[in-house]
């Protein structure tokens, strides 16, 4: 799980658990203070203007477009028409179900990430090297990961070549929707667990070592310590990892789907974000794509707020 997602995930990661106010600002006499305020404002201005123009404004514009029938040049106001069509659209329903299928990747990613992070935490010889290796897929483009898996499971790919060694006929992995989804899920797990284990590892290092020491003195074995100390202590990070993965599954699969299956066969592997793309560039009405995008935005917004709330609650504990 990579790149644009890479940085945006980093964003969440750092956004969530911090919450400090500005501190250590110099106090100085009136006129200087006034000048400083102006300088500070001017320094922030270019960044804020760009962000508002190319992130905030487009969101508002997406809302507008979703209430219209448009080809991008002429806008006809149609109230909720696009939304009504969307909710009755069997393709949209199918695509939503597809997205739910992709969620299978999450328990797999988390399970492997927990195992890997707990083992890394033992700090056996070479653990730093392993950490970098596990992280490796995260620096690769979705295009690279997707095509690599598509290749490996293609008709002439490594997997079929290996099966051929045992005289098994080549399998067409991408002609069946569910089989194709499981290959994409495999790609997601392969590329995703490394970063998640890094997050969990950071959670582990935050546990007070004295707790482990005390448990060890009391004679708690390795498994007992894992179950009663390690896992309960990282449940906050686990929850966080879970939610960013859900968000990612609904917003970050475009690249995988685009290069691995192009949404097919039929719409069997299409995700919501991929459908937005399809509607944007192969439909005469951008409004329907925008309505879908707005729904996605609201859905992700709710998830993000939930996450923020959960973290606040737990911080107050």
């Amino acid at each position: 799980m990579t790149t644009a997602p890479l940085t945006s995930r980093v964003g969440v990661a750092s956004a969530a658990p911090t919450g400090e106010g500005p501190s250590g600002k110099p106090r100085r006499p009136g006129t200087l203070q006034k000048k400083d305020r102006l300088i500070g404002f001017l320094a922030v201005l270019p960044a804020i203007v760009l962000v508002v123009a190319f992130s905030a404004y487009p969101i508002a514009f997406a809302f507008f477009i979703s209430f219209t029938r448009t080809n991008g040049l002429v806008f006809e106001w149609r109230w909720l028409e696009n939304y009504i069509t969307m909710f009755n659209d069997p393709i949209v329903q199918q695509v939503f179900v597809n997205n739910l299928k992709y969620l299978i990747a999450i328990p797999l990613v988390i399970f492997i990430a927990v195992v890997v992070s707990v083992l890394l935490f033992e700090r056996v010889r070479g653990w730093k090297f392993f950490r970098v290796v596990f992280f490796l897929p995260n620096v690769l483009s979705v295009a690279v990961i997707g095509i690599m898996f598509r290749n490996a499971f293609g008709y002439y790919g490594g997997v079929n070549q290996a099966l051929g060694l045992f005289d098994v006929e080549p399998i067409q992995f991408f002609t069946d929707g569910n089989l194709a989804i499981s290959i994409i899920v495999l790609a997601l797990v392969w590329s995703g667990f490394g970063y998640m284990s890094l997050l969990l590892f950071a959670g582990l290092t935050a546990i007070n070592p004295a707790v482990f020491e005390a448990a060890a003195i009391d004679g708690a074995g390795w498994w007992k310590r894992l179950w009663y100390i390690t896992l309960p202590n990282i449940r906050r990070v686990l929850g966080f990892v879970f939610i960013i993965n859900v968000i990612f599954t609904f917003t970050g699969l475009f690249g995988y789907v685009f290069v691995m299956t192009a949404g097919g066969p039929g719409y069997d592997t299409t995700t919501i974000d991929y459908l937005v793309y399809l509607r944007a560039f192969s439909s005469s009405n951008l409004g329907s794509g925008a309505a879908l995008a707005v729904m996605l935005f609201l859905f992700i917004g709710v998830l993000t707020l939930m996450q923020a709330k959960v973290f606040k609650l737990q911080r107050e504990d």
């Binding site: 911090t18 190319f54 475009f254 192009a262 707005v294």
Partner: protein
Amino acid sequence: MAEEAVISKRITSGRANVPIFLVLAVVATSIVYPLYFVIITSLRPNTDYLKDSFGLPGVWTFDNYVRLIEVYGVGQAFLNSLYVAVVTIVLVLILATLAGYALAKYPVPGAKYFTSIFVSLMLVPGAVLIIPTYVMLARLGLVGNYWGLILVYVSGALPFAVFFLSLSFRGIPVEVIEAARIDGAGFFRTLWSIIIPMGSSGIATLAVLQFLGVWNELLWALILIPEESMKLLTPTLASIGTRFLTDQPLVSAGLFITAVVPLLLLIFASKYIMQGLQVGVSR
């Protein structure tokens, strides 16, 4: 860190580490082997691949790379990607350093609102933005123009970049800046001679992360640059990957060309990458 290591060593001492090492090694192999397979495959002709895919190549050749660069424009795409990535990073670093410094150390009016704008726009999914942004850029005549793409990348990167840098600049002691200001140094002077040198590790981390982000990005590069000769590397790779299903060595060479820059960065800048990804998580 050192103390923790000692303690955990004490806890695990007496326990054989071999099983743990083996499990980690198996997982690591599952990551490394596919990449190894891609690299080896890219260095052999297709006939050789189909004869024996898993052994070492009977014939070693750079032919796949040469063909990609000479016939399919991958070399040009590589340069295009490099250009866009470098321009984007320079702009992000300049704008984010200015804003980050101001938010960390200056009494910016409305700082709370600015920060919350940045934080809340950190996570807007690309799918939400493609339609409105495309319409907007088309009207401005910026579709099919690198500047449209660069503007989208820069504005997409800024929220995290500003947040990240203001966080890391906050750690620089006020006394140092105050002392310089008493000597008459202004905003730019303190920025240049104190903030940038002292915050260089954070800035380098950001540069590496942003480079990876732009280099690997697919969606915007795909829709905003329709012109064949201007295409960036990832869309070029995607179209080669779907066109040459029967020629695995050729596609593998394309995969390696796209992956090699990030891999080199991971090898030589892993410190910065790991650092950047753990910001805030450990709190």
